[in-house]
Protein backbone atom coordinates (compact mmCIF):
# COMPACT_ATOMS: atom_id res chain seq x y z
CA UNK A 1 0.00 0.00 0.00
CA UNK A 2 1.18 3.49 -0.73
CA UNK A 3 0.02 6.99 0.03
CA UNK A 4 -2.75 8.37 -2.17
CA UNK A 5 -1.65 11.14 -4.51
CA UNK A 6 -4.93 13.08 -4.83
CA UNK A 7 -4.35 13.92 -8.49
CA UNK A 8 -8.07 14.18 -9.21
CA UNK A 9 -8.64 16.57 -6.34
CA UNK A 10 -5.90 18.90 -7.50
CA UNK A 11 -7.06 18.78 -11.11
CA UNK A 12 -10.59 19.68 -10.09
CA UNK A 13 -9.41 22.57 -7.92
CA UNK A 14 -7.08 23.92 -10.61
CA UNK A 15 -9.88 23.98 -13.19
CA UNK A 16 -12.12 25.72 -10.66
CA UNK A 17 -9.39 28.26 -9.93
CA UNK A 18 -8.88 29.13 -13.59
CA UNK A 19 -12.61 29.44 -14.17
CA UNK A 20 -13.04 31.71 -11.18
CA UNK A 21 -10.11 33.81 -12.32
CA UNK A 22 -11.98 34.56 -15.56
CA UNK A 23 -15.29 35.07 -13.80
CA UNK A 24 -13.61 37.49 -11.42
CA UNK A 25 -12.09 39.47 -14.27
CA UNK A 26 -15.33 39.67 -16.19
CA UNK A 27 -17.23 41.13 -13.25
CA UNK A 28 -17.15 44.73 -12.15
CA UNK A 29 -18.97 48.01 -12.12
CA UNK A 30 -18.35 48.47 -15.85
CA UNK A 31 -19.93 45.74 -17.92
CA UNK A 32 -17.51 44.44 -20.50
CA UNK A 33 -18.53 41.73 -22.97
CA UNK A 34 -16.79 38.42 -22.49
CA UNK A 35 -15.38 38.41 -26.01
CA UNK A 36 -13.53 41.64 -25.34
CA UNK A 37 -12.16 40.33 -22.07
CA UNK A 38 -10.91 37.24 -23.78
CA UNK A 39 -9.25 39.13 -26.62
CA UNK A 40 -7.48 41.44 -24.14
CA UNK A 41 -6.28 38.48 -22.13
CA UNK A 42 -4.72 36.82 -25.14
CA UNK A 43 -2.97 40.03 -26.04
CA UNK A 44 -5.33 41.46 -28.62
CA UNK A 45 -7.40 44.61 -28.62
CA UNK A 46 -10.88 45.26 -27.33
CA UNK A 47 -13.51 47.35 -29.04
CA UNK A 48 -13.01 50.18 -26.54
CA UNK A 49 -9.66 51.41 -25.30
CA UNK A 50 -10.99 52.20 -21.80
CA UNK A 51 -12.00 48.57 -21.42
CA UNK A 52 -8.48 47.51 -22.13
CA UNK A 53 -7.16 49.82 -19.40
CA UNK A 54 -9.76 48.61 -16.94
CA UNK A 55 -8.90 44.99 -17.58
CA UNK A 56 -5.14 45.30 -17.71
CA UNK A 57 -4.56 47.82 -14.96
CA UNK A 58 -7.37 47.10 -12.55
CA UNK A 59 -9.09 43.79 -12.91
CA UNK A 60 -6.15 41.51 -13.62
CA UNK A 61 -3.98 42.95 -10.82
CA UNK A 62 -6.93 42.64 -8.48
CA UNK A 63 -7.56 39.00 -9.42
CA UNK A 64 -3.88 38.16 -8.98
CA UNK A 65 -3.88 39.97 -5.65
CA UNK A 66 -6.86 37.89 -4.58
CA UNK A 67 -4.98 34.72 -5.48
CA UNK A 68 -1.79 35.73 -3.66
CA UNK A 69 -3.62 37.03 -0.60
CA UNK A 70 -5.96 34.05 -0.35
CA UNK A 71 -3.25 31.44 -0.76
CA UNK A 72 -0.73 33.28 1.42
CA UNK A 73 -3.10 33.73 4.33
CA UNK A 74 -4.31 30.15 4.11
CA UNK A 75 -0.83 28.68 4.11
CA UNK A 76 0.13 30.93 7.04
CA UNK A 77 -2.93 29.74 8.91
CA UNK A 78 -2.01 26.14 8.24
CA UNK A 79 1.52 26.69 9.54
CA UNK A 80 0.24 28.32 12.71
CA UNK A 81 -2.28 25.54 13.36
CA UNK A 82 0.44 22.93 12.97
CA UNK A 83 3.04 24.79 15.02
CA UNK A 84 0.65 25.38 17.90
CA UNK A 85 -1.22 22.13 17.30
CA UNK A 86 -4.35 24.20 17.76
CA UNK A 87 -7.25 24.18 15.29
CA UNK A 88 -8.22 27.71 16.32
CA UNK A 89 -4.90 29.28 15.39
CA UNK A 90 -4.78 31.52 12.33
CA UNK A 91 -2.27 33.74 10.57
CA UNK A 92 -3.03 36.62 12.90
CA UNK A 93 -2.50 34.89 16.25
CA UNK A 94 0.95 36.41 16.46
CA UNK A 95 -0.59 39.85 16.57
CA UNK A 96 0.67 40.81 13.14
CA UNK A 97 -2.59 42.29 11.88
CA UNK A 98 -2.86 44.37 15.04
CA UNK A 99 0.69 45.52 14.47
CA UNK A 100 -0.10 46.53 10.90
CA UNK A 101 -3.25 48.28 12.05
CA UNK A 102 -1.23 50.12 14.66
CA UNK A 103 1.17 51.32 11.99
CA UNK A 104 -1.67 52.61 9.86
CA UNK A 105 -3.48 54.11 12.84
CA UNK A 106 -0.34 55.97 13.89
CA UNK A 107 0.04 57.29 10.38
CA UNK A 108 -3.57 58.34 9.82
CA UNK A 109 -4.67 59.35 13.28
CA UNK A 110 -1.44 59.88 15.14
CA UNK A 111 0.10 62.31 12.69
CA UNK A 112 -2.80 64.72 13.00
CA UNK A 113 -3.04 64.22 16.77
CA UNK A 114 0.55 65.03 17.48
CA UNK A 115 0.61 67.74 14.86
CA UNK A 116 3.65 66.22 13.26
CA UNK A 117 4.49 66.34 9.63
CA UNK A 118 1.32 66.60 7.62
CA UNK A 119 1.77 63.24 6.03
CA UNK A 120 -1.68 63.23 4.54
CA UNK A 121 -0.57 66.01 2.22
CA UNK A 122 2.26 63.93 0.81
CA UNK A 123 0.30 60.71 0.67
CA UNK A 124 1.36 58.34 -2.05
CA UNK A 125 0.28 54.86 -2.92
CA UNK A 126 3.18 53.54 -0.89
CA UNK A 127 2.62 55.37 2.39
CA UNK A 128 -0.03 53.07 3.81
CA UNK A 129 1.71 49.78 2.97
CA UNK A 130 4.96 51.06 4.43
CA UNK A 131 3.30 52.17 7.65
CA UNK A 132 1.50 48.84 7.90
CA UNK A 133 4.69 46.87 7.21
CA UNK A 134 6.57 48.80 9.86
CA UNK A 135 3.83 48.13 12.39
CA UNK A 136 3.70 44.44 11.50
CA UNK A 137 7.49 44.21 11.60
CA UNK A 138 7.59 45.84 15.03
CA UNK A 139 5.16 43.37 16.58
CA UNK A 140 6.75 40.47 14.75
CA UNK A 141 10.25 41.23 16.01
CA UNK A 142 8.92 41.59 19.53
CA UNK A 143 7.23 38.20 19.25
CA UNK A 144 10.26 36.45 17.75
CA UNK A 145 12.68 37.92 20.29
CA UNK A 146 10.52 36.82 23.20
CA UNK A 147 9.83 33.48 21.49
CA UNK A 148 13.50 32.60 21.66
CA UNK A 149 13.58 32.98 25.41
CA UNK A 150 10.56 30.75 26.07
CA UNK A 151 10.92 27.04 25.66
CA UNK A 152 7.23 26.25 25.58
CA UNK A 153 5.67 26.73 22.15
CA UNK A 154 2.23 27.34 23.64
CA UNK A 155 3.57 30.37 25.50
CA UNK A 156 4.38 31.95 22.13
CA UNK A 157 0.68 31.74 21.27
CA UNK A 158 -0.21 33.66 24.43
CA UNK A 159 2.60 36.16 23.89
CA UNK A 160 1.37 36.80 20.34
CA UNK A 161 -2.16 37.36 21.61
CA UNK A 162 -0.85 39.74 24.28
CA UNK A 163 1.12 41.81 21.78
CA UNK A 164 -1.98 41.87 19.60
CA UNK A 165 -4.24 43.20 22.32
CA UNK A 166 -1.57 45.67 23.39
CA UNK A 167 -1.47 47.08 19.87
CA UNK A 168 -5.27 47.12 19.66
CA UNK A 169 -5.48 49.00 22.93
CA UNK A 170 -3.19 51.72 21.62
CA UNK A 171 -5.33 51.93 18.49
CA UNK A 172 -8.42 52.39 20.70
CA UNK A 173 -6.78 55.24 22.56
CA UNK A 174 -5.72 56.86 19.31
CA UNK A 175 -9.18 56.47 17.81
CA UNK A 176 -10.80 57.98 20.89
CA UNK A 177 -8.97 61.26 20.37
CA UNK A 178 -9.05 61.35 16.62
CA UNK A 179 -11.10 63.42 14.19
CA UNK A 180 -14.05 61.80 12.48
CA UNK A 181 -12.54 61.98 9.00
CA UNK A 182 -9.28 60.35 10.06
CA UNK A 183 -11.17 57.68 11.91
CA UNK A 184 -13.21 56.98 8.80
CA UNK A 185 -10.05 56.70 6.74
CA UNK A 186 -8.65 54.19 9.19
CA UNK A 187 -11.92 52.28 9.26
CA UNK A 188 -11.90 52.02 5.49
CA UNK A 189 -8.39 50.60 5.56
CA UNK A 190 -9.41 48.00 8.13
CA UNK A 191 -12.25 46.82 5.85
CA UNK A 192 -9.58 45.39 3.61
CA UNK A 193 -9.30 45.88 -0.11
CA UNK A 194 -7.80 43.89 -2.93
CA UNK A 195 -8.17 46.50 -5.62
CA UNK A 196 -5.63 49.11 -4.59
CA UNK A 197 -2.55 47.51 -6.06
CA UNK A 198 -0.79 48.76 -9.13
CA UNK A 199 1.48 46.43 -11.08
CA UNK A 200 4.51 47.79 -9.23
CA UNK A 201 3.05 47.09 -5.83
CA UNK A 202 1.89 43.71 -7.01
CA UNK A 203 5.46 42.95 -7.99
CA UNK A 204 6.68 43.74 -4.46
CA UNK A 205 3.94 41.58 -2.97
CA UNK A 206 4.79 38.81 -5.43
CA UNK A 207 8.50 38.82 -4.62
CA UNK A 208 7.90 38.56 -0.86
CA UNK A 209 5.26 35.90 -1.48
CA UNK A 210 7.64 33.74 -3.50
CA UNK A 211 10.48 34.12 -0.98
CA UNK A 212 8.22 33.14 1.91
CA UNK A 213 6.71 30.20 0.05
CA UNK A 214 10.17 28.87 -0.82
CA UNK A 215 10.95 28.88 2.90
CA UNK A 216 8.38 26.12 3.39
CA UNK A 217 10.39 23.49 1.51
CA UNK A 218 13.08 22.95 4.17
CA UNK A 219 10.47 22.57 6.92
CA UNK A 220 8.02 20.32 5.06
CA UNK A 221 9.29 17.26 6.91
CA UNK A 222 9.19 18.86 10.33
CA UNK A 223 5.61 20.00 9.75
CA UNK A 224 4.58 16.37 9.41
CA UNK A 225 6.54 15.16 12.40
CA UNK A 226 5.14 18.01 14.50
CA UNK A 227 1.81 16.21 14.10
CA UNK A 228 3.16 13.74 16.66
CA UNK A 229 4.09 16.47 19.15
CA UNK A 230 7.43 18.11 19.83
CA UNK A 231 9.11 15.25 21.69
CA UNK A 232 8.46 12.76 18.91
CA UNK A 233 9.55 15.30 16.30
CA UNK A 234 12.77 15.77 18.21
CA UNK A 235 13.34 12.02 18.41
CA UNK A 236 12.99 11.92 14.63
CA UNK A 237 15.93 14.26 14.27
CA UNK A 238 14.02 17.52 13.87
CA UNK A 239 15.43 20.66 15.44
CA UNK A 240 12.39 22.19 17.09
CA UNK A 241 13.93 25.60 17.68
CA UNK A 242 15.04 25.93 14.06
CA UNK A 243 11.76 24.77 12.54
CA UNK A 244 9.84 27.01 14.91
CA UNK A 245 11.84 30.08 13.91
CA UNK A 246 11.48 29.35 10.22
CA UNK A 247 7.72 28.90 10.61
CA UNK A 248 7.44 32.17 12.55
CA UNK A 249 9.47 34.09 9.96
CA UNK A 250 7.54 32.68 6.99
CA UNK A 251 4.17 33.42 8.57
CA UNK A 252 5.17 36.90 9.61
CA UNK A 253 6.60 37.72 6.21
CA UNK A 254 3.52 36.46 4.39
CA UNK A 255 0.85 37.94 6.63
CA UNK A 256 2.84 41.12 7.19
CA UNK A 257 3.22 41.94 3.52
CA UNK A 258 -0.34 40.86 2.71
CA UNK A 259 -1.85 42.95 5.48
CA UNK A 260 0.29 45.88 4.43
CA UNK A 261 -1.18 45.90 0.93
CA UNK A 262 -4.70 44.62 1.40
CA UNK A 263 -5.60 45.38 4.99
CA UNK A 264 -6.46 42.80 7.63
CA UNK A 265 -8.52 40.12 5.90
CA UNK A 266 -10.18 37.93 8.46
CA UNK A 267 -11.37 34.38 8.41
CA UNK A 268 -9.64 33.00 5.30
CA UNK A 269 -6.47 31.96 7.10
CA UNK A 270 -8.32 30.21 9.89
CA UNK A 271 -10.98 28.44 7.85
CA UNK A 272 -9.27 27.39 4.63
CA UNK A 273 -6.85 24.88 6.24
CA UNK A 274 -9.91 23.17 7.72
CA UNK A 275 -11.61 23.12 4.33
CA UNK A 276 -8.44 21.61 2.87
CA UNK A 277 -8.33 18.90 5.54
CA UNK A 278 -11.97 18.06 5.02
CA UNK A 279 -11.74 17.95 1.25
CA UNK A 280 -8.54 15.91 1.14
CA UNK A 281 -9.10 14.01 4.41
CA UNK A 282 -5.41 14.00 5.20
CA UNK A 283 -3.02 15.69 7.58
CA UNK A 284 0.00 15.23 5.35
CA UNK A 285 1.54 18.64 4.70
CA UNK A 286 2.88 17.61 1.33
CA UNK A 287 -0.78 17.65 0.29
CA UNK A 288 -2.12 20.25 2.70
CA UNK A 289 0.24 23.12 1.81
CA UNK A 290 -0.63 23.18 -1.92
CA UNK A 291 -4.25 22.32 -1.12
CA UNK A 292 -4.62 25.22 1.30
CA UNK A 293 -2.96 27.55 -1.20
CA UNK A 294 -5.33 26.61 -4.03
CA UNK A 295 -8.48 26.55 -1.90
CA UNK A 296 -7.47 29.87 -0.31
CA UNK A 297 -7.09 31.46 -3.72
CA UNK A 298 -10.46 30.06 -4.82
CA UNK A 299 -12.23 31.26 -1.68
CA UNK A 300 -10.88 34.78 -1.97
CA UNK A 301 -11.70 34.98 -5.69
CA UNK A 302 -15.28 33.95 -4.88
CA UNK A 303 -15.51 36.44 -2.02
CA UNK A 304 -14.12 39.21 -4.19
CA UNK A 305 -16.58 38.42 -6.98
CA UNK A 306 -19.44 38.66 -4.51
CA UNK A 307 -18.03 41.83 -2.98
CA UNK A 308 -18.17 43.59 -6.32
CA UNK A 309 -21.94 43.20 -6.25
CA UNK A 310 -22.24 42.42 -9.96
CA UNK A 311 -24.57 44.72 -11.90
CA UNK A 312 -24.37 47.45 -9.28
CA UNK A 313 -22.06 50.38 -8.73
CA UNK A 314 -21.21 49.48 -5.15
CA UNK A 315 -18.37 47.37 -3.79
CA UNK A 316 -18.67 45.79 -0.38
CA UNK A 317 -15.67 45.54 1.99
CA UNK A 318 -13.90 42.24 1.31
CA UNK A 319 -13.25 41.68 5.01
CA UNK A 320 -16.97 41.52 5.72
CA UNK A 321 -17.74 39.23 2.80
CA UNK A 322 -15.16 36.64 3.79
CA UNK A 323 -16.81 36.22 7.18
CA UNK A 324 -20.45 36.67 6.17
CA UNK A 325 -20.28 33.89 3.62
CA UNK A 326 -17.42 31.89 5.00
CA UNK A 327 -18.44 31.45 8.61
CA UNK A 328 -21.80 29.74 7.92
CA UNK A 329 -20.14 27.42 5.43
CA UNK A 330 -17.51 26.31 7.91
CA UNK A 331 -20.07 25.93 10.69
CA UNK A 332 -22.18 23.76 8.43
CA UNK A 333 -19.21 21.63 7.43
CA UNK A 334 -18.18 21.14 11.03
CA UNK A 335 -21.65 20.15 12.15
CA UNK A 336 -21.68 17.55 9.43
CA UNK A 337 -18.20 16.22 10.13
CA UNK A 338 -18.26 16.69 13.90
CA UNK A 339 -14.49 16.67 14.33
CA UNK A 340 -11.83 19.34 14.16
CA UNK A 341 -8.25 18.42 13.41
CA UNK A 342 -4.88 19.97 13.37
Amino acid sequence: MNLPIYKKHFLLLSVLLIMLFFVNISLGSVAIPFQDIFSVLVGGNSSKESWEIIILNFRIPKAITAILVGSGLSVSGLLMQTLFRNPLAGPFVLGISSGASLGVALLLIGSSLFGGVLLSETFTHWTLPIAASLGAFLVLSAVIITANSVRNTMSILIIGLMFGSFASAIISVLSYFSEATKLQQFLFWSFGSLGNLSWNELLVLGVFYVIAMCGIFPILKSLNSLLLGENYAKSLGISIQKSRNIILVITSLLTGIITAFSGPIAFVGLAVPHLARMFFTTSNHKILVPASAIIGAIVLLICDSIAQLPTSDYTLPINAITSIFGAPVVIWLLIRKKKLFV
Binding site: M1, L3, L220, L227, K234, S235, G237, S283, V342
Partner: protein, 263 residues
Protein backbone atom coordinates in the same frame (compact mmCIF):
# COMPACT_ATOMS: atom_id res chain seq x y z
CA UNK B 1 35.66 -9.07 28.37
CA UNK B 2 36.72 -6.80 25.54
CA UNK B 3 34.23 -8.51 23.29
CA UNK B 4 31.40 -7.97 25.73
CA UNK B 5 32.29 -4.34 26.22
CA UNK B 6 31.89 -3.58 22.56
CA UNK B 7 28.41 -5.04 22.50
CA UNK B 8 27.02 -2.28 24.68
CA UNK B 9 24.44 -0.40 22.70
CA UNK B 10 24.13 2.20 25.41
CA UNK B 11 26.21 2.98 28.47
CA UNK B 12 26.10 5.77 31.01
CA UNK B 13 28.89 7.19 33.10
CA UNK B 14 28.13 8.90 36.42
CA UNK B 15 24.86 10.11 35.04
CA UNK B 16 22.90 12.68 37.06
CA UNK B 17 19.43 13.46 35.89
CA UNK B 18 16.97 16.16 36.84
CA UNK B 19 15.88 19.65 36.00
CA UNK B 20 17.81 22.86 36.13
CA UNK B 21 16.61 26.41 35.81
CA UNK B 22 18.44 29.67 36.33
CA UNK B 23 18.06 29.60 40.10
CA UNK B 24 17.61 26.02 41.17
CA UNK B 25 18.82 22.59 40.27
CA UNK B 26 16.53 19.71 41.09
CA UNK B 27 18.39 16.42 41.08
CA UNK B 28 16.13 13.46 40.48
CA UNK B 29 18.78 10.73 40.59
CA UNK B 30 22.56 10.62 40.70
CA UNK B 31 25.43 8.38 39.71
CA UNK B 32 23.47 6.10 37.45
CA UNK B 33 25.55 3.41 35.79
CA UNK B 34 23.57 1.60 33.15
CA UNK B 35 24.76 -0.64 30.36
CA UNK B 36 22.48 -2.13 27.77
CA UNK B 37 23.69 -5.12 25.77
CA UNK B 38 22.65 -5.72 22.19
CA UNK B 39 19.58 -7.88 21.78
CA UNK B 40 18.27 -7.67 25.33
CA UNK B 41 14.93 -6.77 26.80
CA UNK B 42 15.41 -4.58 29.86
CA UNK B 43 12.62 -3.41 32.17
CA UNK B 44 12.99 -0.38 34.37
CA UNK B 45 11.01 -0.71 37.60
CA UNK B 46 10.48 1.89 40.26
CA UNK B 47 7.62 3.55 42.09
CA UNK B 48 5.76 6.58 40.79
CA UNK B 49 7.75 9.79 40.82
CA UNK B 50 11.11 8.10 41.31
CA UNK B 51 12.36 9.45 37.98
CA UNK B 52 11.87 6.64 35.47
CA UNK B 53 10.50 8.95 32.81
CA UNK B 54 13.20 11.52 33.51
CA UNK B 55 15.84 8.83 33.05
CA UNK B 56 14.31 7.62 29.79
CA UNK B 57 13.97 11.15 28.50
CA UNK B 58 17.59 11.84 29.37
CA UNK B 59 18.83 8.65 27.73
CA UNK B 60 16.93 9.52 24.56
CA UNK B 61 18.28 13.06 24.60
CA UNK B 62 14.88 14.71 24.92
CA UNK B 63 16.35 16.46 27.95
CA UNK B 64 19.96 17.15 28.89
CA UNK B 65 21.70 15.31 31.71
CA UNK B 66 22.77 17.43 34.69
CA UNK B 67 26.10 15.65 34.78
CA UNK B 68 27.89 12.66 33.36
CA UNK B 69 27.98 11.12 29.94
CA UNK B 70 25.88 8.85 27.77
CA UNK B 71 27.56 6.64 25.19
CA UNK B 72 25.79 5.08 22.26
CA UNK B 73 27.86 2.40 20.52
CA UNK B 74 30.90 3.66 22.47
CA UNK B 75 30.45 7.15 21.12
CA UNK B 76 29.49 10.09 23.32
CA UNK B 77 25.97 11.35 22.61
CA UNK B 78 27.30 14.88 22.45
CA UNK B 79 29.13 13.97 19.25
CA UNK B 80 25.93 12.96 17.49
CA UNK B 81 23.85 15.39 15.51
CA UNK B 82 20.11 15.08 15.95
CA UNK B 83 19.57 13.11 12.76
CA UNK B 84 22.32 10.58 13.58
CA UNK B 85 20.80 10.11 17.00
CA UNK B 86 17.42 9.50 15.39
CA UNK B 87 18.91 6.53 13.58
CA UNK B 88 20.16 5.05 16.90
CA UNK B 89 17.29 5.52 19.36
CA UNK B 90 13.54 5.52 18.78
CA UNK B 91 10.89 6.38 21.31
CA UNK B 92 7.43 5.44 22.47
CA UNK B 93 6.15 8.03 24.90
CA UNK B 94 3.14 8.26 27.19
CA UNK B 95 2.06 11.68 25.95
CA UNK B 96 -1.07 11.93 23.82
CA UNK B 97 -0.72 12.85 20.16
CA UNK B 98 -2.34 16.07 18.97
CA UNK B 99 -5.52 15.25 17.04
CA UNK B 100 -4.89 14.81 13.36
CA UNK B 101 -6.15 12.78 10.44
CA UNK B 102 -3.02 10.67 10.11
CA UNK B 103 -3.71 7.13 8.98
CA UNK B 104 -1.95 4.24 10.66
CA UNK B 105 0.28 3.80 7.63
CA UNK B 106 1.21 7.50 7.58
CA UNK B 107 1.92 7.48 11.30
CA UNK B 108 4.21 4.46 11.02
CA UNK B 109 5.79 5.99 7.91
CA UNK B 110 6.84 9.04 9.95
CA UNK B 111 9.36 6.71 11.56
CA UNK B 112 11.25 6.77 8.26
CA UNK B 113 11.87 10.52 8.43
CA UNK B 114 15.54 10.30 9.44
CA UNK B 115 16.18 8.44 6.19
CA UNK B 116 13.90 10.19 3.69
CA UNK B 117 14.81 13.08 1.41
CA UNK B 118 13.66 16.65 1.92
CA UNK B 119 10.15 16.07 0.58
CA UNK B 120 9.81 12.93 2.68
CA UNK B 121 9.62 10.64 -0.34
CA UNK B 122 9.24 6.97 0.60
CA UNK B 123 11.39 4.60 -1.44
CA UNK B 124 10.44 0.96 -1.93
CA UNK B 125 12.99 0.17 0.77
CA UNK B 126 11.21 2.54 3.17
CA UNK B 127 7.85 1.00 2.36
CA UNK B 128 9.28 -2.44 2.93
CA UNK B 129 10.52 -1.38 6.37
CA UNK B 130 7.12 0.11 7.19
CA UNK B 131 5.31 -3.04 6.10
CA UNK B 132 7.67 -5.26 8.10
CA UNK B 133 7.15 -3.09 11.17
CA UNK B 134 3.38 -3.33 10.81
CA UNK B 135 3.57 -7.07 10.30
CA UNK B 136 5.73 -7.67 13.38
CA UNK B 137 3.36 -5.65 15.53
CA UNK B 138 0.31 -7.29 13.93
CA UNK B 139 -1.35 -4.10 12.73
CA UNK B 140 -1.20 -4.62 8.96
CA UNK B 141 -4.98 -4.90 8.77
CA UNK B 142 -5.31 -1.45 10.34
CA UNK B 143 -3.06 0.34 7.83
CA UNK B 144 -5.70 2.55 6.20
CA UNK B 145 -7.58 3.41 9.39
CA UNK B 146 -7.21 6.76 11.13
CA UNK B 147 -5.27 6.44 14.33
CA UNK B 148 -7.98 8.05 16.47
CA UNK B 149 -10.33 5.22 15.55
CA UNK B 150 -8.14 2.63 17.25
CA UNK B 151 -8.47 1.08 20.67
CA UNK B 152 -5.74 1.80 23.22
CA UNK B 153 -4.13 -1.58 22.68
CA UNK B 154 -4.03 -1.22 18.90
CA UNK B 155 -2.76 2.34 19.16
CA UNK B 156 0.08 1.30 21.42
CA UNK B 157 1.15 -1.30 18.85
CA UNK B 158 1.02 1.39 16.14
CA UNK B 159 3.39 3.52 18.18
CA UNK B 160 5.70 0.53 18.57
CA UNK B 161 5.53 -0.05 14.82
CA UNK B 162 6.49 3.57 14.24
CA UNK B 163 9.51 3.18 16.49
CA UNK B 164 10.34 -0.07 14.72
CA UNK B 165 10.15 1.55 11.29
CA UNK B 166 12.72 4.06 12.52
CA UNK B 167 15.09 1.10 12.33
CA UNK B 168 17.17 1.86 15.40
CA UNK B 169 19.16 -0.65 17.43
CA UNK B 170 17.60 0.68 20.65
CA UNK B 171 13.92 1.32 21.31
CA UNK B 172 12.92 3.09 24.50
CA UNK B 173 9.33 2.84 25.69
CA UNK B 174 7.86 4.82 28.56
CA UNK B 175 5.12 2.77 30.23
CA UNK B 176 3.75 1.25 27.03
CA UNK B 177 1.06 -0.67 28.91
CA UNK B 178 -0.21 2.15 31.11
CA UNK B 179 -3.88 2.11 30.08
CA UNK B 180 -4.21 -1.48 28.97
CA UNK B 181 -6.03 -4.45 30.42
CA UNK B 182 -4.22 -7.66 31.26
CA UNK B 183 -4.78 -9.25 27.87
CA UNK B 184 -3.45 -6.29 25.89
CA UNK B 185 -0.61 -5.73 28.33
CA UNK B 186 0.45 -9.30 27.78
CA UNK B 187 0.14 -8.82 24.03
CA UNK B 188 2.48 -5.81 24.14
CA UNK B 189 5.06 -7.70 26.21
CA UNK B 190 4.90 -10.62 23.78
CA UNK B 191 5.38 -8.32 20.79
CA UNK B 192 8.36 -6.64 22.45
CA UNK B 193 9.90 -9.98 23.35
CA UNK B 194 9.41 -11.14 19.77
CA UNK B 195 11.19 -8.03 18.48
CA UNK B 196 14.16 -8.74 20.70
CA UNK B 197 14.48 -12.36 19.64
CA UNK B 198 13.65 -11.89 15.96
CA UNK B 199 15.35 -8.61 15.16
CA UNK B 200 17.94 -8.55 17.98
CA UNK B 201 16.98 -5.04 18.91
CA UNK B 202 17.61 -3.74 22.39
CA UNK B 203 14.46 -2.68 24.20
CA UNK B 204 14.27 -0.60 27.36
CA UNK B 205 10.86 -0.08 28.90
CA UNK B 206 9.64 1.47 32.09
CA UNK B 207 6.71 -0.36 33.59
CA UNK B 208 4.73 -1.14 36.72
CA UNK B 209 3.95 -4.68 35.58
CA UNK B 210 6.45 -6.36 37.90
CA UNK B 211 5.27 -9.89 37.23
CA UNK B 212 5.39 -9.58 33.48
CA UNK B 213 8.71 -7.77 33.63
CA UNK B 214 10.21 -10.66 35.60
CA UNK B 215 8.74 -13.16 33.18
CA UNK B 216 9.68 -11.48 29.91
CA UNK B 217 12.77 -9.35 30.41
CA UNK B 218 16.35 -10.47 30.18
CA UNK B 219 17.40 -7.91 32.74
CA UNK B 220 15.67 -5.66 35.22
CA UNK B 221 16.75 -2.25 36.41
CA UNK B 222 15.49 -1.24 39.84
CA UNK B 223 15.34 2.46 40.51
CA UNK B 224 15.12 3.53 44.14
CA UNK B 225 15.68 6.77 45.98
CA UNK B 226 19.36 6.17 46.65
CA UNK B 227 20.22 3.14 44.62
CA UNK B 228 20.15 1.81 41.10
CA UNK B 229 20.54 -1.93 40.43
CA UNK B 230 20.49 -3.75 37.16
CA UNK B 231 20.73 -7.50 36.85
CA UNK B 232 18.84 -10.57 35.75
CA UNK B 233 15.67 -11.15 37.68
CA UNK B 234 17.09 -14.34 39.25
CA UNK B 235 20.04 -12.49 40.73
CA UNK B 236 17.84 -9.64 41.96
CA UNK B 237 15.48 -12.09 43.63
CA UNK B 238 18.38 -13.98 45.14
CA UNK B 239 19.72 -10.80 46.70
CA UNK B 240 16.29 -9.72 48.01
CA UNK B 241 16.51 -6.52 46.07
CA UNK B 242 12.86 -6.39 45.03
CA UNK B 243 11.85 -5.61 48.60
CA UNK B 244 13.67 -2.29 48.27
CA UNK B 245 11.19 -1.19 45.61
CA UNK B 246 8.26 -0.41 47.87
CA UNK B 247 8.97 0.57 51.44
CA UNK B 248 5.54 -0.44 52.61
CA UNK B 249 5.00 -3.01 55.31
CA UNK B 250 2.03 -4.52 53.58
CA UNK B 251 3.82 -5.15 50.31
CA UNK B 252 6.11 -8.12 50.35
CA UNK B 253 8.03 -9.87 47.61
CA UNK B 254 7.60 -13.62 47.65
CA UNK B 255 10.73 -15.32 46.39
CA UNK B 256 9.06 -18.60 45.54
CA UNK B 257 6.08 -17.14 43.75
CA UNK B 258 8.39 -14.58 42.11
CA UNK B 259 5.87 -11.84 42.65
CA UNK B 260 4.68 -9.19 45.07
CA UNK B 261 1.96 -10.14 47.49
CA UNK B 262 -0.07 -7.96 49.79
CA UNK B 263 -0.10 -9.19 53.35
Amino acid sequence: MQQQESQHILATEDLSIGYSSKKTIKIVAEKIQLQLKKGTFVSLLGKNGIGKSTLLRTLSNVQKPLQGNIYINQKNVKQFNSNQLATCISLVLTERLPESQLSVFELVALGRQPYTNWVDHLTTFDIEKINTAMKLTEITHLASQRYYELSDGQFQRVLIARALAQDTSLIILDEPTAHLDLHHTLQIFRVLKKLVTETSKTILISTHEVNLAIKFSDEIALMNENSFYKDTSDKLIENNLFDSLFLDEMIHFDKNLRQFIIK
